[in-house]
Symmetry: C2
Subunit: 225 residues, 2 copies
């Protein structure tokens, strides 16, 4: 019995690439805005792994995004004032949700507890939820476990805080690696297809090991009935 | 500038006494239901202090409520089956909000981040918010600080997770001791009068040290303008 649903956020509920590309465009950073967004995001996994491996101290997404942005700009020999770089970092706080996210969460929370479970920090997730008018029952984050997904303690901390057994908790995500991490911690999993996450040329993804695979949150509500 | 508001819950947003008394009545526990509710609640502060002092391990409110209920019933020589005692413990998950709470939170969150900051654990607060249709931007709890209010780290953990300076965070509470704890941690404070918290004979309370004192959440919204 699925008693609660936790959602990956970046790519699963919100369209990070369009918002970040728009911020690069608005900031007049030289280069293709979409490619810059992709290149910034590509530095995400390595820096989180460094934290999980103990090679870096814990950091909020604002702190880590500034480090990875500075690395990216340095690599390309582009100079951008700090105030503009901070605006770019803040772009991650006001990303638009995918079209089904707001109404889908409303539908799903009639029957079950819903919460984000993101590697983003709590304050960032609060801003995203307010920006997109996304209603959650609470906000869960890697910050509350001091470990980033896919470390098992991130998922297990969510189950503990919601007071549900791991097998009664389902992670909803567009990323097979996240879903695999959740399964390793004993959670159920729902794969949601977001074919535009990386722009029009996003490679097709699927996760045959997921309990359910859906095209949007409304399909998930039907699948859970 | 008050950027975010955190709210005490039991007594400040929800009417614990009526709900718990009703649960004693429904369970046919011998004695006056309101007096039983008061006597149970009176065992709250000592057991939280024992945890903060390191004399007891951390416990959720469900765990602590069961301990204090068992002590109360043993003291009175009353025998109640475990299933009924668990129902009584669960009554704390479905308490009705004060009449202004739901609409007041909606009004306040238009301008500022709003969150509970309760000694109750996250899962309990989620149940209360769903029961009363209270909309928060996230759920903050002593559970996330591993210390109960009025320990300063409870308030400081809330400020850290919301990414605001303590002086930009305001605690709203009906209890001067809670407000004093918040001030000791550097927060601003709003006293809200709940003259029915302990039934019709609640002693009058005030907190002259609070930044604002109001009769309900709508008055608070006006005061913060």
């Amino acid at each position: 019995m699925v008693r609660a649903l936790v959602f990956d956020v970046f790519g699963t509920l919100v369209d990070w690439r369009s918002g970040v590309a728009e911020a690069f465009r608005a900031a007049d950073v030289p280069g293709d805005p979409g490619e810059l967004a992709d290149a910034w995001r590509a530095r995400y996994r390595p820096i989180l792994d460094a934290v999980n491996d103990g090679q870096r101290p814990w950091g909020t997404f604002d702190e880590l995004h500034l480090v990875t942005l500075d690395d990216l700009l340095a690599e390309r020999g582009v100079s951008v004032p700090l105030a503009v770089r901070q605006q770019l970092v803040h772009a991650w706080h006001r990303l638009d949700p995918w079209p089904d996210a707001r109404s889908g969460l409303e539908e799903l929370r009639r029957e079950r507890v819903v919460a984000p479970l993101s590697n983003g920090h709590v304050a960032l997730l609060v801003d995203l939820a307010r920006h997109g008018d996304l209603r959650f029952d609470c906000v869960l984050s890697a910050e509350l476990a001091n470990a980033y997904k896919p470390a098992p303690q991130t998922y297990l901390t969510a189950a503990r805080l919601l007071d549900v057994a791991p097998e009664d908790l389902m992670l909803v995500a567009a990323h097979p690696s996240d879903l695999q991490g959740a399964r390793s911690a004993g959670l159920r999993t729902a794969f949601i297809d977001r074919p535009l996450e990386l722009g029009p040329h996003t490679a097709s993804r699927q996760d045959p090991a997921a309990d359910v695979s859906v095209a949007d949150l409304h399909e998930l509500a039907v699948a859970l009935q």
